[in-house]
């Protein structure tokens, strides 16, 4: 004789039985999915483990806390610009004596740098060792003759997006407007044709589809900074949220 009751004779029991089976199956399925997901994460984390053992030349850990390493930049969305080099114009203005505008062809004629830099997304991924080519923000500041009263740099981008950068990080050697990574142009979802790069802050500060660099006296929190994200955004202090 089977342990299973005669469900046809007792419809109320049948309902309970099927509900119990459903809940059991759901719990088992969820546990299996969770276990599988955890295994996948562990297997893919060799890069992260290796990076955690490294240091930067300035003594900070190569990988900020709470980050894991990806091999490629991950597209994170955003309001895209048109991505065209023909229509690209970069406005360098604000607290400076010689504001100017430069098109794509002339941007490439400015003194260029190519630097290796790590970037760290606030959502938790980092991409290490990318070779970024572009024009340093400090070079743009020099050409525009930025005045001493300037304390922040605002990176302006398509559709009114802005990100505020304190002068210290903006004038660092590795901060630039960039149009190439690892010898390749950016695709539209990564900010083509030109994006900002401020590697010492979370990556949202490196505005994609950049249109302007503005030097300002007073801080002006930008798009994400006014939506709950940290105003400074230092990855080593895990300054993710306000």
């Amino acid at each position: 004789m089977s342990d299973t009751p005669d469900l046809d004779r007792y419809p109320e029991l049948a309902e309970r039985w099927s509900r119990r089976s459903f809940i059991k199956s759901a719990v088992a399925g969820t546990a299996l999915l969770g276990f599988g997901g955890a295994l996948m994460r562990l297997a893919a984390d060799d890069l992260t483990r290796a990076a955690r053992a490294e240091n930067r030349p300035d003594g900070k850990p190569r990988l900020p806390p709470g980050q894991r390493v990806l091999e490629f930049l991950r597209p994170m969305g955003g309001d895209e610009g048109d991505g065209k080099t023909e229509t690209f114009r970069l406005k360098v203005h604000g607290a400076c004596k010689k504001p100017f505008e430069v098109d794509y062809a002339n941007l490439l004629k400015l003194p260029q740098v190519e630097k290796m830099a790590d970037v760290h997304c606030v959502t938790g991924w980092s991409m290490l060792g990318g070779m970024w080519k572009g024009v340093q923000l400090k070079k743009l500041a020099e050409l525009a003759e930025m005045t001493e009263e300037a304390r922040f740099v605002i990176l302006e981008a398509a559709h009114g997006f802005t990100a505020n950068i304190p002068m210290k990080e903006a004038m660092a050697d590795n901060a630039m407007v960039t149009y190439r990574i690892n010898g390749k142009p950016f695709s539209i979802d990564h900010g083509a044709p030109v994006r900002g790069l401020v590697p010492d802050l979370y990556f949202w500060k490196s505005s994609k589809w950049i249109t302007g660099v503005k030097f300002v006296k007073n801080d002006a929190p930008g798009f994400w900074e006014t939506r709950g994200y940290n105003n400074h955004a230092d990855p080593w202090k895990e300054e993710r949220y306000a």
Binding site: E54, E101, L107, K109, L143, K184, A192, E238, E239
Partner: protein, 251 residues
């Protein structure tokens, strides 16, 4: 009096049912795109399917007329005749009618061409686009209306059924569970401020120092370090033309 009570609950259920039907389309859009947004750090932006390939071809000397260079690159790319092209520095960019782009980096020993294309995924691409109401005029108000609809569904659900399946037993337990889950999470995780405290303790510790190379590009540089590879040695704008702008009113 009992009739009035019955009618009241019946109306609540009828409206709940109809609003539920109305909400199905919206809920599919917001729930599926919400899951995609939730896992953006794992999956990235899944709105588009992007492809990229790189080909190498013989070097194109700088003296080559632009039209000849464009034809050489277009032939190598094999996507037909480009609709637009532009030369800037060591780059030659070709745009195609289907949205594909080919960028040739004109090196001295060879030309490297990167061909990029992408297309919006049918459902999730549009759902993700709709999920953020920013810059969408009327959709912002439609999304607000959906939020109000959800509020009605949530609040009316409390009173739809009376007795043990309602607030007297099952309803109360499930409502309490639904409220307790986020409250307990905040309590156990410590809320937003706890993260800052945890970080302070993790970043003030000893620093390890085992230099191991990691990161892209692996082939060219298996042990990349964070040192500059090229420094500009040019004063002023070089040969670039900068268009002067009038000063800002509010720097």
């Amino acid at each position: 009096m009992p009739d009035v009570k019955k009618r009241w609950r019946a109306w609540l259920r009828a409206i709940h049912r109809d609003f539920g039907y109305l909400a199905i389309g919206f809920t599919l859009i917001y729930a599926i795109s919400g899951i995609a947004q939730n896992h953006i750090e794992d999956w990235g932006d899944v709105s588009f399917k992007a492809t990229e390939r790189t080909i190498a071809m013989a070097a194109i000397p700088p003296t080559t007329p632009e039209i000849v260079a464009v034809k050489s690159v277009a032939d190598a790319v094999g996507l037909g005749t480009p609709t637009e092209h532009a030369r800037a520095g060591d780059e030659l960019r070709l745009d195609y009618a289907n949205g594909s782009k080919a960028t040739a980096i004109l090196g001295t020993s060879e030309t490297t061409v990167t061909i990029q294309a992408r297309s919006r995924r049918p459902f999730i691409g549009l759902a993700n686009w709709l999920h953020t109401a920013r810059h969408k005029n009327a959709w912002k108000y439609i999304a607000d209306a959906y939020a109000v609809l959800l509020l009605y569904l949530a609040l009316s659900g409390i009173f739809m059924i009376k007795g043990r399946l309602g607030l007297k037993w099952r309803g109360t337990i499930l409502i309490t569970t639904g409220i307790l889950v986020p409250v307990m999470y905040i309590g156990l995780a410590g809320g937003p401020d706890a993260q800052k405290d945890a970080v302070a303790s993790t970043t003030s510790g000893e620093i390890h120092s085992v230099p191991v190379g990691i990161g892209a590009p692996k082939k060219e540089s298996p042990t990349p370090t964070l040192t500059p590879t090229q420094e500009p040695d040019v004063k002023g704008p070089g040969s670039a033309v900068l268009v002067p702008l009038p000063p800002d009113d509010d720097p």
